[in-house]
């Protein structure tokens, strides 16, 4: 059997690094359908998985890909798919099933410009709200956004760990630039990589209820073939997993699905603050736009503007408490994202009028011009 962690220093694209991260996290099943700009992930997985005893399968479409990774997860494999734009729209149906049945898996969306076919080869960051609520019904989900190939490697591992811990599909919101750019990627030794695994059943079959939550609101997860005769359904269900078509069961189940993320958000949410203490203005960003914001900070420093950067590592759940706190201390938040205002809406919501909020957004196809961001900052600073 080949090694799953190829320790060393490489010059990789974000997509390649993502595949390396998946293997390091223990992913052993990949189902996908080719789509630009994510195809290199599938290509890499198709080469690597057979070497480590895993399975790669190219499905007939993204509906099937998403369904297959859910099935594989219930057979005990850590599973993943990768897609973009039109593909993620198709996956939304079974992302909902994954949420409802609390199925750990990772869905990579290498964001391109949309709507519809949009800009297949060029960057966008407009699927952020879709990542949160793109499937029907009410739920909470986890999404992360890397800003470099090194982070694509690391965040893919984090995505698997979060999926396994909180039993929810985790969306890795990459973008075309991060997916395609090459940078140095350092792959550490296997022993230094922290990997989380789902919690299995602590009771023998019989009394065990597959959807009875523990204190942290997460049920223990048996898989097919272990003798538990589990029933897994997308219908509203009780703790045994049996359909329960009534409002009381709905309340109990859906509120738990929402709460298991919301009440644990302190453990899940993650962000990076640079020069935020004492800053007059704070840039809020994620993914490739973070890189532009770092450049803007340097430009602002030269102009004597005290500019902080608040960068979302995990986008959902949103760090609402921290943004609320910071809102009371600064003059303005400037959200920098490649869309016409998605995270900007969240920022506005939690700033709650305590400071100015601005958006520097555009429709996609390229990254922000740092100069334009700087101009928005200068306008507020003056």
């Amino acid at each position: 059997m080949g090694k799953d962690v190829l320790t060393g220093t490489y010059f990789l694209t974000g997509n390649e690094a993502c595949a390396a991260g998946a293997l390091a996290a223990g992913c052993r099943f990949f189902a996908g359908y080719p789509i630009t700009p994510s195809s290199e992930i599938a290509e890499r997985m198709s080469i690597r998985l057979p070497q480590v005893g895993g399975v790669y399968i190219q499905m007939e479409d993204e509906l099937a890909s998403m369904a297959a990774i859910l099935g594989a997860s219930w057979a005990g494999a850590k599973s993943m798919t990768a897609t973009s734009g039109p593909g993620i729209s198709l996956m939304m149906e079974n992302i909902g099933l994954g949420v409802m049945t609390e199925t750990p898996c990772v869905v990579v969306n290498v964001m391109r410009g949309g709507p519809s076919t949009g800009l297949p080869t060029l960057v966008g960051q407009a699927d952020v709200m879709q990542a949160r609520w793109g499937s029907h019904g009410d739920y909470e989900i986890i999404a992360l956004s890397p800003s470099s190939p090194q982070e694509a490697f690391e965040y893919t591992i984090r995505a698997f760990n979060l999926a396994e811990t909180w039993r929810v599909p985790v969306i890795l919101l990459m973008d075309e630039v991060v997916g395609h750019m090459r940078e140095r990627v350092v792959i550490p030794e296997k022993k230094d990589i922290k990997v989380a695994n789902r919690r299995g059943p602590s009771e023998p079959p019989g009394k065990f209820k597959a959807f009875r939550p523990k204190k942290d609101l997460i049920p223990e997860m048996p898989v097919a073939g272990q003798g538990y005769a589990i029933h897994v359904t997308g219908l509203t269900h009780d703790e045994r997993g049996y359909p329960a078509i009534e409002w009381e069961a709905q309340e109990k189940l859906v509120s738990r699905l929402v709460k298991k993320i919301r009440l644990n958000s302190a453990k899940i949410a993650s962000w990076e603050e640079t020069g935020v203490e004492g800053a007059e203005i704070i840039l809020i960003s994620y993914g490739v736009s973070t890189r532009i914001c770092r450049a803007v900070r340097e430009m602002a420093r030269e102009k004597g503007i005290n500019l902080g950067l608040f960068r979302l590592e995990v986008i959902w759940p949103f760090p609402e408490k921290r943004v609320r706190e910071l809102a009371g201390r600064v003059k303005a938040f400037v959200t920098v994202e490649i869309n016409y205002g998605q995270i900007a809406l969240e920022v506005e919501r939690y700033a709650a009028g305590k400071c100015m909020t601005r958006l520097v957004g555009h429709g996609g196809g390229t990254v922000h011009d740092p100069q334009k961001v700087l101009e928005a900052v200068e306008e507020i600073a003056s």
């Binding site: 320790t7 220093t9 079974n94």
Partner: protein, 499 residues
Amino acid sequence: MIEPQILDHPKDMLLRKERIPHIWCPGCGLGSVLSALVDALRNSDLDLKNVAVVSGIGCTGRAAGYLNLDSFHTTHGRAIPYATGLKLANPDLTVIVFSGDGDLAAIGGNHLIHAARRNVDIKVICVNNFNYGMTGGQGGPTTPRLARTTTTSYGNTEKPFNLVHLTAACGAPYVARWTSAHPHYMKIAMGEMLKKDGFSFLEVIAPCPTNFGRRNKLREIKLLQRFLEQAILEAQPDIAKADIELDSPILCGKFVDLERPSYLAAIKETVSAKVKVYDFRGDGRVPLEEAPVKAAAAKAPGKPAEVPAERPIIQRPVQIKLAGLGGQGIGLCGLIIGRAAAIFDHNQAVYTQEYSPEARGGASASSIIVASGQIHAPYVTEPDIMVIMAQGAYNKYQKDVRPGSRLIIDKDLVRPKDLPGSVQVQAIPATRLAEELGQKVVANIVTLGFFTALVPYISLAAMQKALKGSIPKGTEELNLRAFETGYDYGKKMQEEEAV
């Protein structure tokens, strides 16, 4: 008085008793099909712990929930791909898909044909009741012509699927059809499917008296009676004659039973035989052994401990853009520069290239930014150095040549015109020199050597290491000679200029 003794029914062990009574209507055919499956499973020598059932949505889709097995009630149409994931992730499982015609043949039709083609080892039981029972009896792709449903009040005008013909045509190695009035044959077929390694398909024609029967004057027992009376049971039925019309007989039997390697068997045979330990050759062939900072990496990712003595210090990010025509190997040059800087010089480098379909033929460019500190914005916007290897590329990218920048060109192939002020042009007859070496294709590597001689941002040692790791085995000598040729040409040019 004798106390009545209540014994478990022998089939109970396979049913979730607490979920009975089921939701199915009186006279519905689904119970018989489920019962036949229970019998087939009991008669098999399978360890039932390893049997999983997957359903989609609909009346039939509820079957999974009644079986005391690992059972999955998925989304509409997606039972087959879900089952595919289950089976491939744990080949020890026997995976049965039990779902309806609307689920498997309409919304899930694409999955059905591909699973048959792929020959994933799953056993598909498709209960065909000619309509959508759960939602109130709408017509669908299996509704016979002229049949009345809630959405075909004037009689259905569409030709229905012949599902056995369809799956057989897609390559399913096992295909059979029975009706719910044939429990014995159903059981036999299911037993055979449980033993088959490969995609097997059983269509069971079953009555939906509540919806289809009622609207077609075939209530309850009449529908079943019709199946019994009109079914043609044949040992070797002709699949082309298996179309179903409203009043026509229903051709039943086993249509296909042949051997074909299943999906997993084929993988074992083909892929597993070729798999070797991966060395990242696909990334431009930096072999694992040459990765310089294995141990240090773990301690401080991204910050290697040992910095080579000859590491060039690059204060501000330097932007480099390489352009040429398809086949000139521009992308490889960019990669080598990036690797040299990022891996071997321990500097930072960001490499980007054009991905648009237009970039595939014609002129294209790849871009690298190198710096000793962090590189933020990833795109080259104001190149400090441009390398252009063909006139077509020059025409396209001339707009990017900035005043005061450096322009490296192929002396014979590029005629720079309309240059902005103070551009330092440095030319090498790279293609001609490559031809002299016997291989025109190494013109890019000649240029790379020239670049290395002139540009101070990447060390010679790093470039040599990156080059060695980035070219196919067996071409090392030629490529190294090409590199040296370009390098020497550059050094000589510099000396002459200095004089």
